[in-house]
């Protein structure tokens, strides 16, 4: 980040190590510069949580699409153009007043890239990976999310190549919002399950 980066200091060991590695790989022809650019461009500009928000808002608006998602999420989102690396196999799990779903990868950082892009730092951190499975209510409370005592919390540990997306509850009072307005309510965190979707009065912006 530019605001806390002082350009007068020497580059860190990590910067130097990565730079040396990149120079070596380019020089030996093991990678091509335009391929590196294409990879970065894909995840900075093409693939991100707006894809998942599209899927969620469509599921809120279209019952037959929602049913298709539960039957075969991989094929259903592929029809919208969302398929690829770290999204080869997909399951969508629905939050209801009785069930709250939460996604984690305790062993590494598995995450539905095709719908959410690259995971945030906290998702890959030791505290989240350690605690999401054992004390999900406490973890949720650290995100400001409280779940009723009787609600069944289901934590999905992504140990295989199956990727999980949470379908958050549609906020009340949103019956008159269009699909594109609904998309504005669907946050990345709500699709991981650590937060709820935004309240309906924030949709029409």
């Amino acid at each position: 980040m530019s605001h806390d980066h002082d350009h007068t200091v020497l580059p860190s060991d990590l910067e130097l190590r990565v730079k040396a590695l990149e120079s070596l790989l380019l020089e030996k022809g093991l990678v091509k510069r335009d391929a590196l650019d294409a990879i970065i461009e894909t995840y900075e500009h093409q693939v991100g949580p707006k894809n998942g928000a599209h899927v969620v808002a469509k599921a809120w608006s279209d019952l037959s699409f929602k049913q298709a998602l539960f039957e075969d999420a991989t094929a259903t989102v592929a029809e919208l153009g969302y398929f690829g690396r770290q999204g080869e196999h997909l399951t969508v799990v629905e939050n209801t007043p009785d069930i709250h779903n939460l996604v984690v990868c305790t062993l590494c950082s598995c995450y539905p890239w095709t719908l959410l892009g690259l995971p945030p730092v906290w998702y890959k951190s030791a505290p989240y990976r350690a605690r999401a499975v054992s004390e999900p209510r406490k973890v949720l409370s650290e995100f400001g999310t409280s779940v009723a005592e009787h609600t069944d919390i289901r934590v999905w540990d992504s140990t295989s190549e199956m990727r999980y997306l949470v379908l958050p509850e549609r906020p009340p009072g949103t019956e008159n919002l269009s699909e594109s307005q609904l998309q504005g309510l669907v946050t990345r965190n709500s699709m991981i399950g650590v937060e709820m979707a935004r309240p309906g009065n924030e949709g029409a912006k």
């Binding site: 030996k28 391929a35 294409a38 196999h89 945030p120 995100f143 289901r154 992504s158």
Partner: protein, 212 residues
């Protein structure tokens, strides 16, 4: 192996301290952006698979794994794989064996992914509703059965078909095993206070045994 990466249920890590969603950049410094792209691009050479890549990161000393930031672990893993596979020497001596992706190839590979579903070679041993126990397995190689559910009893909730088996795949042998989604009750895993919470874990058939 149950190295520093096998974190489920471990204590003492403190709060999550998430950056607010609207404020978090995709990468926190330029070197993270570069090692991300380098890892994906070199992976596209087809010299190793995703489980070998995961195993390379896990093999670090647990202290190092936990001390490093996420992308530092990627850097460690990539350096290890490049050395193990001796790729610099390989491309110098056998350039004809390498197809190095350009931008169009890279985009195509990202959009195609690498599905792991394989044809069934035998029928599954379990079906939805079956009660199973997770075997205790202390083995040195790569595996995707977390320590915290080993020995636990669970119920099969779904059968995902035959998928590439990570324990073999990490040794470069692409073989399939039946993959199941299992439900474990929180109070069985963590004690009686952990009511109305459960954990769903995807596990391959060799990790499981039936219970009566």
């Amino acid at each position: 192996m149950n190295g520093g990466h096998d974190l489920g249920g471990r204590q003492g890590f403190g709060p999550v301290n998430a950056e607010p969603e609207c404020e978090e950049p995709l990468f926190h410094s330029e070197w993270e952006r570069r090692i991300f792209a380098l890892t994906l691009a070199t992976g596209m050479l087809g010299q190793w698979n995703i489980d070998e890549s995961r195993h390379a990161r896990e093999c670090q000393h647990p202290t190092d794994y936990l001390k490093h930031s996420y992308y530092e672990n990627w850097l460690e893993g990539l350096e290890k794989l490049l050395k193990e596979k001796d790729l610099v020497a390989q491309i110098e001596q056998h350039a004809e064996c390498f197809r190095v992706p350009d931008a169009a190839d890279a985009r195509k590979i990202l959009s195609t992914g690498n599905p792991t579903l394989l044809p069934d070679s035998r029928p599954p041993s379990f079906r939805s509703g079956d009660r199973i126990r997770v075997l205790r397995r202390q083995q040195a190689g790569h595996t995707r059965v977390p320590t915290y559910i080993q020995g636990a009893n669970g119920v099969v909730v779904d059968h995902y078909g035959t998928h590439v088996y990570p324990d073999q795949n990490a040794k470069g042998q692409r073989a399939g095993e039946h993959l199941y989604c299992l439900r474990f009750e929180g109070h069985d895993l963590w004690g009686s206070k952990s009511c109305s919470q459960s954990v769903y874990v995807d596990l391959w058939e060799p990790y499981l045994e039936p219970t009566s």
